[in-house]
């Protein structure tokens, strides 16, 4: 009798979750499942096919994936390295007030991705940009035409802008896991700073570094607005290509777009899984 009452209560409790679950199903889960199914269906006949995935073996799509992976990997790497140094500089800054301001600044600037940021970089590094002018007048160095903000390299500058603060925010809590006592005891045993970091510091930070890299990678891979404003059709990127399929700017069988989308989902999911595992490992150190 007691067991029956318990299960009845538990079942009705799940009803309370229904509105939220329904919403997720309607706007998130079902559409994505529909997308995955659609990528395997030939539009006119309705038959199952992997032709869309085979069609991806085309220079345009291969370049898109290569460019997106290169861009994401590069900006993630730069973001991780620079972000860790800057994060440590902030972490060891003596004034609490300054640390709070710098953290808040990172919080704000990491959300600045998008069209306004792309435009800001045109003002700074465009053909008549502030830095371009500065280099020309004070160093007689002509940035253009070898460099262009409307290119892969230009995009790196824009992406790093929001990748950097994101890494700073991610790595700051990780430094708390490296106890000062360990540094002192390693010093007393004769190790110098480099040896400490190489043998103790970095291994402890490693899960957070990996988590940071994958998150930054996923962040860059899925970015659209910044790239759209800066490069558009000058550079083949996965998100841009999928975007063209939606707006109909490209006369292409939507199936290919869906296949691209599914591949992107696989890449992103891999990233999220690695990120979760790495974060759990990182928590091991901060808990002690």
């Amino acid at each position: 009798m007691i067991i029956k009452a318990k299960s009845r209560k538990a079942r009705s409790a799940w009803l309370g979750l229904l509105p939220f679950l329904l919403f997720c199903l309607v706007f998130e889960i079902v559409p994505v499942l529909f997308l995955i199914r659609g990528s395997f269906i030939e539009k006119s006949s309705g038959a199952l096919t992997i032709q869309h995935y085979v069609d991806l073996n085309h220079p345009l799509y291969i370049n898109s994936f290569l460019n997106s992976i290169k861009l994401s990997g590069l900006t993630a790497f730069i973001g991780v390295v620079l972000g860790t140094f800057i994060g440590y500089a902030i972490y060891r800054w003596p004034s609490v007030h300054a640390r709070e301001i710098l953290t808040a600044l990172s919080d704000v600037t990491t959300n600045f991705a998008g069209a306004p940021l792309a435009f800001a970089f045109v003002v700074v590094l465009g053909m008549n940009g502030v830095v371009t002018q500065f280099l020309l007048q004070y160093f007689q160095y002509k940035l253009y035409p070898d460099f262009s903000i409307y290119s892969f390299t230009g995009l790196i500058f824009a992406y790093v802008y929001f990748q950097l603060p994101l890494m700073v925010l991610l790595i700051l809590p990780a430094f708390a896991g490296i106890k000062k006592e360990w540094q002192e005891s390693s010093q007393s045993l004769g190790a110098n700073t480099f040896q400490f970091w190489w043998n103790i510091g970095i291994p402890i930070l490693m899960p957070s570094l990996i988590a940071g890299f994958t998150l930054l990678f996923a962040n860059a891979f899925g970015a659209y607005a910044t790239a759209y404003t800066l490069v558009q059709s000058n550079l083949a990127l996965v998100t841009l290509q999928i975007g063209y399929m939606i707006t109909g700017e490209v006369r292409q069988d939507v199936g290919v777009g869906m296949a691209m989308a599914v591949l992107s989902l696989i890449i992103m999911s891999l990233g999220i899984v690695i990120y979760q595992i790495a974060t759990l490992r990182a928590h091991r150190w901060s808990k002690s």
């Binding site: 979750l17 939220f20 997720c24 500089a89 704000v108 003002v123 830095v131 659209y224 607005a225 707006t247």
Partner: protein
Amino acid sequence: MMKKTHDSAIKSERRPRPALWQIICIVLFLFYMLLPIISTYVFSIAKRWDRTILPEGYTLDFYKRAFQVSYFGSTLRNSFILSLSTALVILIIIVPTVYWVHTRLTRAKPLLDVLMILPFGIPMVVLALSLVQIYNFPPIARSPFLLIGAMVVYAMPFMYRPVVNAMQAIDANTLTEAGQSLGANVFQVLMQIIIPNILPGILSGGLLVFSTVFAEYTLTSLIVGARFKTFPLLLVEYTRINGNVAATFSVISFTIAWLASILILWVGSKGQHTTADTIRVR
């Protein structure tokens, strides 16, 4: 009195200074972060700025022109409507759900956590593509309502974290039991006890949702496009027409984002009411 001077003597003795490498790192960091923003602000009031490092003159002309742009008012209004609606829908869906799971269905918390990570694993273009493909029938095909649905999915993790943290900080279970022992039903407990106590969390989450949706371009342009022009869409349009006016739009975008961030920090600093606070003897 003697203790005070003793303490301050120790303080000034021991206060460390930042190392040189730290100063260099932070200065370069600040330079990289602030230069684009400051340049945009200056560009919006610059008369001519394509030959020199500093502008050749200053003017508010471009702001006048910006306000006269025909879609200026309507896009701002649309952005506000979109952001407010999204924040409202998220509030109504998320807060009761988090409360429910926290008090009655703790087993479902991992499921909730996963569902809140999911939007990060779906790139916005993929979400847009999937929604446009499956809901391609009137009346919701490419409608603002579909857009709101997409926005809610995209922005709900931003509300989830603050609300969950606030819920844990106030020990919602104890408060619920207390309320129910005094005869309140679940709805009353939620509305009159829980929500007032997690208000800072709701406000900072709501502001975050608002500012994120306000600046959003990808989902809007791909799902509804010109049918429901929002401010970011107008901005991108003008980057190709008139750079100076686009700069003024950027300034407005940045300023609204700054204001929202400051509000979020201010609300967050007001602190969360923990159980310890409520039972501490004053």
